[in-house]
Symmetry: C2
Subunit: 348 residues, 2 copies
DNA sequence: CTGAAAGCGCTAACAA
DNA sequence: TTGTTAGCGCTTTCAG
């Protein structure tokens, strides 16, 4: 528990000025290899680690990245955090997690966090990635930010996303190809941009297959289990119930599954089911959920990379990054009860 | 995007020395109310926020708390983080999340994090809360730490926990009272202390009810869905299969549920099921899981409180804090197929 | 290629 | 009750 070694201790041991140590540690050029090695050896011997606060105070770089999220989005959080964390650590950065209440004064919350911590950058997860107040504040403060899965203004600032529309389209195609014709859709939260895109993909696939979408096949949801259950109940208790349901996220799909169960229907025998996101939970259900895998961890890792690069003064060669999704076909989707296999449809 | 105001700007505006501003901001005594008000007004007018790095550099307090976890424990993470975050923010602290690889050099990882960030304290979630290397390192570094749900040496250092044994006992009683006699148990990860305690509670309840626990009613699990599924398969494919299964955590219980389903058994009709933790997932399954609620968010909030107090030089009046659990009876547990209701058993 | 000086924004002594 | 002086550990000037 003796005092932590400082840069001066290293300098003394390596018999150089402490500025030289600083140079070596920051990988600046113009240091003789011999000197560099001596410094490195001294630092290792003393088990020296730079004081992040001191570095930040003078250098303008705090080496701190903020991970901003709003409470409802738990599933995103863990995976995204893990991905971002990985890259942060590799780059010598640390991740500060900050929940934001979208309903309250977003600008104020962000100012608070940024200015006391002097964050080098922030990762914005939905729905904050679409909050104009958040973006405006960050711009005004001049703080780098990367949005995860924003639904609008993709060119305006760095962001990482997948093609939600295409993924929803592909997933719907999958259901159609299984032979389903009456496919229900549970909409996502109206405030999330992804909701619109996913519905658009669903509608495109249906239209392309010449399938109608009567109003009673669409149910409003809010990305929660409960809302999915309510929607499922509405959808499945109709006389002409759909043989398949596509919910705009996994949690809602599980809600539909619960509703089906309550109505005595079992998946996939009586009802094919598809979700979206490939949440951890989608593998824990019985049957496991067919879904579109959104690589949240990779997306956030990429975002962290971008922020680190930006903080280092680099320019992003690819500020908007579209990552591939994947359709995970699992046990929850099967052909409808007595349906003929549909003829192979044309591809995208 | 103009320069952030500093303490000196506030001092100038309030027409006092900048030390006085510092006093006001730190709520130090010996400042005339009139002066204090003037300073506060100036700070508000300038929208001043102290630079955390500068404060930490000189004051010895970084106002940063670390949240340490190991990857497997995702369910803990989100809830615990949220709880801790809440209190941190109230106290003007920030939470830095740091994953630790229990398999690698724990001491080194912790040293790394602590010494570069000068954390004021850390919250340790299982299984790190039981890692001797972690505890020893933190002690050596003199860094305050609060352990969440440690299984040993509770008196040695601050910690927050529930009585796992009693909770497992109560849950087992619940199954017994439903009329189950052949109750299977899926063990947790052997490296987690909670595994032992939960099994002990199970065994005590069974013994007290005069029920035998033949070896084939115990299956090894590792706190994962897959291990639960394997254990469930082993347990349920026997000739004399149990009518109820108690898994040492929720994820494994869901695994057992999947295995049951595969074997054509449905819960709770053919099989009563209980988990542990009350993970978010336990409500998303069909049927919803009967489980013991471990208030991870409250536990971590309490831990954050303790660390803030410690950092402020206070002494903990209650360094070891036991919080109450709750048994959540949900749809997954019901009486066995053709069982007579057992006679009410004596209480704890 | 290396070093000396200055100062980041703040708190901790001490003095007034 | 208030102000002055150092100095935290580091990076950024600017000299050599």
């Amino acid at each position: 528990m003796s005092r932590q070694p400082t840069i001066k201790d290293v300098a003394t041991k390596a018999e150089v000025s402490f500025k030289t140590v600083s140079r070596v540690l920051n990988r600046e050029p113009h240091v003789r290899k011999e000197v560099r090695d001596r410094v490195l050896a001294a630092a290792a011997a003393l088990d020296y680690r730079p004081n992040n606060a001191a570095r930040g105070l003078t250098g303008g770089r705090s080496r701190l990245i903020g991970f901003l999220y709003d409470n409802p989005n738990y599933s995103y959080v863990t995976q995204g955090e893990a991905g971002a964390l990985l890259r942060c650590r590799e780059a010598g950065y640390h991740l500060v997690v900050e929940p934001i209440d979208s309903q309250a004064d977003v600008a104020r919350q962000i100012e608070q966090i940024i200015s006391s911590l002097r964050l080098d950058g922030v990762i914005l997860t939905p729905p904050i990635s679409d909050a104009p107040a958040a973006l405006a504040t960050l711009d005004r403060l001049g703080v780098a930010h990367v949005r995860i899965a924003p639904s609008a203004a993709r060119e305006a600032a760095p962001c990482v996303f997948i093609d939600d529309e295409a993924a929803a389209y592909a997933l719907t195609r999958h259901l159609i190809e299984l032979g389903h014709k009456a496919i229900g859709f549970v909409q996502g939260h109206p405030d999330h941009g992804a909701s619109r895109q996913r519905q658009a993909g669903f509608e495109r696939a249906m239209a392309q297959a010449g399938l109608a979408i009567p109003a009673q096949l669409i149910a409003q949801g809010y990305f929660t289990f409960e809302s999915g259950m309510a929607a499922g109940e509405a959808l499945l208790s109709q006389r002409e119930r759909p043989t398949a349901v596509f919910a705009a996220n996994d949690k809602m799909a599980l809600g539909v599954l619960a509703a089906a169960r309550r109505l005595g229907l079992s998946a996939p025998a009586d009802l094919a089911l598809a979700g979206f996101d490939d949440n951890r939970v989608s593998r824990l259900s019985s049957p496991q959920l067919t879904t579109a895998h959104q690589p949240v961890d990779v997306m956030c890792a990429a975002a962290a990379d971008m922020l680190v690069a930006l903080a280092g003064g680099e320019t992003l060669d690819q500020p908007t990054l579209q990552l591939p999704f994947e359709i995970e076909v699992r046990a929850s989707s099967a052909a409808p009860p007595r349906a003929p296999l549909s003829s192979p449809a044309s591809a995208v």
